[in-house]
Symmetry: C2
Subunit: 230 residues, 2 copies
């Protein structure tokens, strides 16, 4: 066991994956799991799994592996999923409403308590059990509902203003889906998800593959056909 020092971003990302893999294993009726099995489920290595977990504590038993339910609870607590995070979404477009009606978030403790939009047409509508408010209501609602997380799904132009309002109102973390970076004070935790970038990763990989294939002129995907003897 080691003391809970540091927290490399990428490790935390894997913790989330372990957490889901444990859920799956539990649903299969398993009780114990080895680092090797867990690794396989998230396409990693057993050494990686052990290293990741041991940096937060000593959760396994030598010779037996990890007790699934207990490890799952540990991860839940480490990830902060053992409490409810009241969350506000700014931008009630398709993406914003998709998130609001996305049961998975709710299930993990991210409770969407309000949507905000500039469009007066939308105000008062209900999506997935929560109301759409005018932007001007952001500060009072965030405060009365004790909102700690904000999600921005506005167009690029409105992203920074949305961030400013969220910060002003008192949220501590922001997830930004707008295709521009937002500037927030040091103390605020911000993350950025850009759907285009994910697709660009794929297009890069495909182009790279073509280039590679062109360089070494063997086997173009399909295995070399064996010419039938005459």
């Amino acid at each position: 066991m080691s003391s809970p020092r540091k927290a490399p971003e990428i490790t935390v990302r894997r913790l989330s994956l372990y957490f889901r893999a444990l859920d799956a294993a539990l649903r299969e009726g398993r009780k114990q799991i080895s680092s090797g099995d867990l690794a396989e489920r998230i396409q990693s290595s057993s050494a990686q799994v052990r290293r990741d977990l041991s940096s937060f504590g000593s959760f396994g038993t030598r010779g037996h592996g990890y007790e699934i339910a207990s490890l799952r609870e540990h991860l839940r607590a480490i990830l902060g999923l053992d409490r409810t995070w009241n969350t506000a979404v700014v931008g009630a477009g398709r993406l914003g409403t998709a998130l609001a009606s996305h049961g998975e978030l709710e299930r993990q403790g991210f409770r969407i308590v309000a949507l905000f939009d500039r469009d007066p047409e939308k105000i008062g509508e209900h999506v997935g059990g929560c109301s759409i408010f005018a932007l001007e209501q952001l500060e009072p609602v965030v405060q009365s509902e004790a909102v700690t997380l904000g999600v921005i799904t506005t167009p690029a132009e409105a992203a920074q203003e949305s961030a400013d309002r969220l910060v002003q109102a008192g949220v501590r973390g922001i997830l930004n889906f707008a295709p521009v970076p937002i500037i927030v004070p040091q103390r605020i935790h911000a993350r950025h998800v850009n759907l285009t970038i994910e697709l660009e990763g794929l297009s890069f990989a495909l182009v790279e593959e073509e280039t590679k294939r062109r360089r070494l002129p063997k086997s173009a995907g399909a295995p070399p056909r064996i010419r039938p003897r005459p």
Copy 2:
């Protein structure tokens, strides 16, 4: 300059950011840009920028920096954005339709040519200029429309089947938004975006911050008030 060896994922991700930053600089009327300036725009370091770019070629001029328009074109080509990627979306729920009507994707060359859904009610509807087809139409449509990329926005249960169908039909890359990993053959490039994981990164950070604050009992956010002299 070095030969275009390897391609670390994380570098490619930054190339996408540079690409967008160059767009912004261009809109501001700039013609040249230094590694330092570019770095600032994506919150990185000048050394990082130079290293990243130089691993794909020698695009700058010593003493002057990079010519924005030209560097942008290079990145566009490297990222494969100089062509059109016909893309199919499986799952015409809120997220799927959000993507289909998301102009940004189209603008970067990812043309959504079809949506597929299991629900007979939805079939024949139009979203953002493309039709919703029955799942059974996937293979013929993918082939007739020369689709190379697939996006999965179905519920978890349908994700693997969707992946199988896409692969079977001939796509080469898959972006998966379902909250379960999908298994695809080696030759297929797959990526995974999980909205919950992004939020979990934030909740982890907030919990960690609280823990840290509790350990060193000074300054809880607000600076220590200086007591007014009596």
